[in-house]
Point group: C2
Amino acid sequence: MDDNAAYLQRLEALRAGVDRRLAELAPRPGTAPDRLVEAVRYALLAPGKRFRPMLTLLTASQFGAAESVALDTACAFEMVHASSLILDDLPSMDNAGLRRGLPTIHRAYDEATAILAGVGLLNQAYAVIAADPHLTGELRAEIAGRIAQSVGFSGLIAGQARDLFDRDQLRDLPSIDRLNHEKTGVLIMAAAQSGARIAGASDAAVAAVGEFGWRAGLAFQICDDLIDAEGSAESAGKDVGQDAGMTTAVSLLGVEGARAAMEAHLAAGQAALDSVGGCDLVAGYVGRLFAGRKAAA
Amino acid sequence: MDDNAAYLQRLEALRAGVDRRLAELAPRPGTAPDRLVEAVRYALLAPGKRFRPMLTLLTASQFGAAESVALDTACAFEMVHASSLILDDLPSMDNAGLRRGLPTIHRAYDEATAILAGVGLLNQAYAVIAADPHLTGELRAEIAGRIAQSVGFSGLIAGQARDLFDRDQLRDLPSIDRLNHEKTGVLIMAAAQSGARIAGASDAAVAAVGEFGWRAGLAFQICDDLIDAEGSAESAGKDVGQDAGMTTAVSLLGVEGARAAMEAHLAAGQAALDSVGGCDLVAGYVGRLFAGRKAAA
């Protein structure tokens, strides 16, 4: 087996480990009302890249921690992400029909179940962090705080509110970048930084990983906009053409300009990682992921 | 001023202190989209008893901590409670029009704003705990864990799902008690126990405070059922007559039987407090509160 095959196998083993642990950390049948448990498991365990947990695991590993130590934290970030997808897709929000190639929860079940599953998954992320036996109390509180900052009134929730209510005020690239950062970047940053913190990385390294996450988040969102503008629902696994008439990086910069902005963010993120050295695992993973996404866009 | 007047003045000073701190801990205009900030402040700062934070403050004080040390934790419990009211009131849940004497958030604003405000307030509770400078990391993590257990798939969220989907399976008192415990008791328990833990109370004392909270929660819910069956929307400050046709303690036991069950829970809760001694503050506050509520029922 050559190096590249071994590397891919390692990534896939990590991803599969996240899936196994998520299945353990999700509520089990019999412990809560069946309909709710089914809906939560449907949303959380649907096949996905597990991008945020992979970042947590890879940064932890990169800075010297065993991946097993960061596994529950990694899963908590996936729970937060799954929660945000459920809530963003609701009829009163984006009213989406398709997610990860499957009907959205409010379509497969109903709206009340979707709301309870979404809130329940966010809450479960905190339950997992608070009970994580691998972390000191200080670190559990710190990571809970990082999640809370990335979800709250300067993170996902603010971004979703801005997207819903203030879209007409978003006319230039800085305000679009802020929206994309709130909606995507802050959680990616927190996932990557938490892995580094678990491994005891220096403040400078945590800051560099944060810049990398910030840039990756912006690139990610531009890539999503490109997929929405150019891709098919089949290849995207979710509704496309939702952004028609909205101000996005694509509408402001054109397709080629948006691609260039995405590449610039990826390069700047890479430079941040390079500044602390030895982040080949993280950089390689994200580079590979974007290669696949860019093909879809 | 006699003892009673001084006692009432002290309670009111504590309650007003909670209100002031909630206003500081809520998102401020300019920090997140205006509509969301307004809605969150509307829901969180509407006049209320602040029952859960008062329990946290009074148990902390009772076991020897300065109330100021427990104030942010107390406020976090009010945020969780306010969040649960917003979400329970949603059109897809109880579809309530009136709460704390005011239009519910989804009526005063809109459904998406209500969902984001509800999720945002739950998340803000964790942000407050994670950043609480009065607590050690261990205690911050422990209290976050207590909140997570009381909200999650064996707490508020499970109770709301059971109430919505499994009502027809609730035909006897034990299953009604379990529902009421999930919907009300677990959070009251956690609020009281967290105050005791902040003050370094013994495990036995924390357990006794927990039993008191559990019993108070059950009594509270029966009192609510009595108000729903017999009270007016004006005196209740929320919709009444919502339980018609549902199995509740009142439908199973009749009005007099339900009153007797409520009194039995209050007496058992008092006995638990008496077993650890010196909980006059807590017992006096809850006794006074129930005297007022029983008058409304």
